[in-house]
Symmetry: C2
Subunit: 468 residues, 2 copies
């Protein structure tokens, strides 16, 4: 497994393919190198100074031991349920979709661990449907609640609901056995509760934001429980660490990726489409969507000036979205940069059946491998986009395995950091989400927010003049 790689391919954004008007010339690329090189150096020294903590996650062997110990204890359960949202869910979902079979939850022959569910919402219909099913299986179900503070409203609501159900159905004394908490090492609401009830627990590492936390205990436990090789995942990340630390811009895929994205943003391509040609990778496009949006979407730069900056990431799926989005991608405004994810070896294949004699027009498909079809569709779509002068990047996976997935995660995390430096913004905060959180507390009747509740009132009721 250790030889599989991902490759970053950027020819199809260059002027030699797209022409000078739409592509990046050699001169522009060298300018980007000049601009970006000092930022790689800056990131490397900030990292050495302990200010970029996610960069050290591939080397946390203590965490791996802790995770494996707990995973070993619980992996005999039937159902493993993650309660978390945002960075406490997207990575878990992405790892599962990427590295376990499509029918994992439905086909016990295809799985090496319990069924996995990740609840990252507070939808009453969805949760009710799940609890109706799981209600009589609670003694075979483990819940992993993930929250650094324990105060995230959605996660807290789910956690309290599940605790209530466990108490009611199988008894309060079972809480300790059914719940694993992944939370702050020392303080906070969930740590407090964990101590009182004696939950098994893991740590959300200090200084690592949710969206950079997939390689910590946050993402690793559910993966390990479901049979994913987490050492290989971290080894892949460590391998990529070497590449993305290189201070030679031209050899550093994170730097080149960040610089190309920044360049195109500045010339008006403010939408960044990630389009895997692989169902398994589709939820990594969703993971990337949080990473990119929350890190780079900022009103102020580091000098405090208003900038209202940030590319809008879009998740798409090949070949499916050829029949949904490609019409727009080719003929709509030329305002998008495309990043394809492609897979050379799917590790398995399907042979397409023989066309009936009556339909010779389908003969070109007879007996072909399905992998050839999907990969040709990627090439074909990229060709069509290039014909319309749309820039295209590709991340090519030799194979989808923990080792390449680890590389991918670390590549895009580091690219996000470098892009943050190019945009000159703080890539690690998320100040704009606070108002919505406070407003929710106010609307739920939390008396500390009574003043805000008053302010919201005029917006709360629909005004009949504007209803059709």
């Amino acid at each position: 497994m250790e030889t599989t790689q991902i490759k970053f391919y950027y020819k199809n954004v260059m002027a030699e393919v797209l022409g000078k008007e739409y592509g990046i010339t050699k001169g522009q690329f060298d300018e980007l190198a000049k601009m970006t090189t000092p930022l790689i150096e800056r990131l490397n020294s900030e990292r050495k100074a302990g200010k970029v903590r996610y960069r050290d996650l591939p080397y946390q062997s203590d965490t791996v031991e802790d995770v494996k110990k707990i995973a070993g204890e619980v992996k005999g359960c039937e159902n493993f349920v993650v309660l978390g949202i945002g960075g406490s869910a997207l990575g878990n979902i992405a790892l599962q979709t990427a590295l376990n079979p499509y029918m994992y939850n439905l086909d016990e022959k295809q799985r090496k661990g319990p069924r996995l569910f990740v609840f990252d919402n507070v939808d009453p219909q969805q949760i009710k449907s799940f609890l109706d099913w799981a209600g009589d299986k609670l003694d075979r179900t483990i819940f992993n609640v993930i929250s650094k503070s324990g105060r995230t409203a959605e996660t807290a609501a789910q956690f309290l609901t599940v605790c209530g159900l466990i108490e009611q159905r199988i008894g309060k004394d079972k809480l300790k056995e059914r719940i694993i908490a992944t939370t702050d090492a020392k303080g906070g609401t969930l740590r407090k509760i964990t101590k009182q009830f004696g939950f098994r627990n893991l740590q959300v590492p200090d200084g690592v934001g949710g969206r950079f936390s997939v390689l910590s205990a946050v993402g690793l436990l559910s993966a390990a429980v479901c049979g994913i090789n987490i050492e290989q995942l971290l080894a892949g990340a460590a391998k990529m660490d070497k590449k993305v630390s290189l201070e030679d811009f031209y050899q550093n895929p994170a730097a080149v990726n960040a610089a190309i994205n920044w360049h195109y943003y500045n010339i008006g391509k403010r939408i960044s489409v990630m389009m895997p040609y692989s169902f398994a990778l589709k939820d990594f496009a969703d993971w990337y969507r949080q990473l990119w949006a929350e890190s780079l979407g900022k009103a102020k730069d580091l000098t405090g000036s208003d900038v209202f900056v940030g590319p809008t990431p879009i998740k798409a799926l090949g070949a499916t979205d050829q029949h949904s989005q490609v019409q727009l991608y080719r003929e709509g405004p030329n305002d998008k940069l495309f990043t394809f994810l492609s897979v050379q070896d799917f590790g398995t294949d399907v042979e397409i059946g023989k066309a009936p004699d009556i339909a010779p027009e389908l003969g070109y498909l007879s007996g072909q491998k399905m992998s050839r079809l999907i990969n040709n569709e990627k090439t074909a779509t990229e060709y069509a986009l290039l014909a319309s002068k749309r820039p295209c990047l590709t991340v090519a996976f030799d194979k989808i395995d923990p080792y390449t997935v680890g590389q991918f995660i670390y590549l895009f995390e580091t690219a996000t950091s470098i892009a943050g430096l190019l945009f000159n913004i703080d890539a690690y905060d998320q100040p704009a989400v606070e108002l919505g959180k406070d407003a929710t507390l106010a609307l739920m009747g939390n008396s500390d927010y009574a003043q805000l509740a008053e302010k919201i009132k005029p917006f709360e009721q629909m005004d009949s003049r504007f209803i059709i």
Copy 2:
């Protein structure tokens, strides 16, 4: 059921909320009315002239009878599998997610029909995983292949593969029993095959493009098989038909919606985010994404001039994406128009458990309804977006049921037609997808496309100078 409604709410795009710089003034709104009214009239007369065929789908009682007959024959099967892509899949998926329980496929107590699978891709890992599971259940599985022509590469590849498997595992004589074809009434590859093998079959109606076909046999069969009341669905659409045919702009929600979208596109908000606060409605955001992108993303207007126009639709999900996208939505470029979908009555609810005494900071959640939480989160997020001067529309569902879902579908289809007239483009074609289709045929070795294959060659191999 017949009294449930959806309401279109547009106050939070108006200047009285957002101010004159960001909102629509009364004067501007009246201008939009003046511009749009003749287009409503034009659409109505085109419809009367038989040129807007999807508008008549709510009244196809013959189709309903045909669909119900076949559904009645097969609904005892264990698994129902749709083979289709784009418009032959998105509507089916959206109806299922909206109108059946979250655990439908996993919990037999929660379903009134067979498990449903919709394959809209040619991913070898995904299909292999499914066929490994389904291979010994083929005699309890029905496949509904949906393609107007039968030549769509992805659908044809799946169909041939499934036929091959059925022949091999349970015998060629079972094809007739296991396959239902939904295809062109008279001609085309799939109709030809259907006749030869004697498949049960339904019609893709003439003059209705894939993305407008959910209310035809294309979308109705899988829905009916899975216990969805398709008469109510069509009754809802028919109810909305009355509203969206009104030539008084101010009373017509499709016209007002189209006009607001067009207005904001023209002043630089080229991204249109649809964000349901309901897991059940999330796949309707994906359905909308095709409808909007493929209909409005056009290089040329009706006079043949280059325009490269079209809003980019984005699907998001509340409350989940508050922890992923809202940072960007509030602080990034003010280039988006938001359309929330909200649900007043979820038809069920979950009571949040009691916070432990040690965590009084979670007390505000104790014993609350989860529906109240998710709806307050919508209000809170909208409030925060308005504070950042971002325009917000809402489609409010009294309840999610076939009657309101039918209304929703018809509202957005008609809004798409009117938006097409405002943009002065052909909303019903998709010329840009042809090159990619041809390129796929060329790459698969179809000899009719040998010349194109030569042209693609230079792009096919990765150029090592641009790989990191």
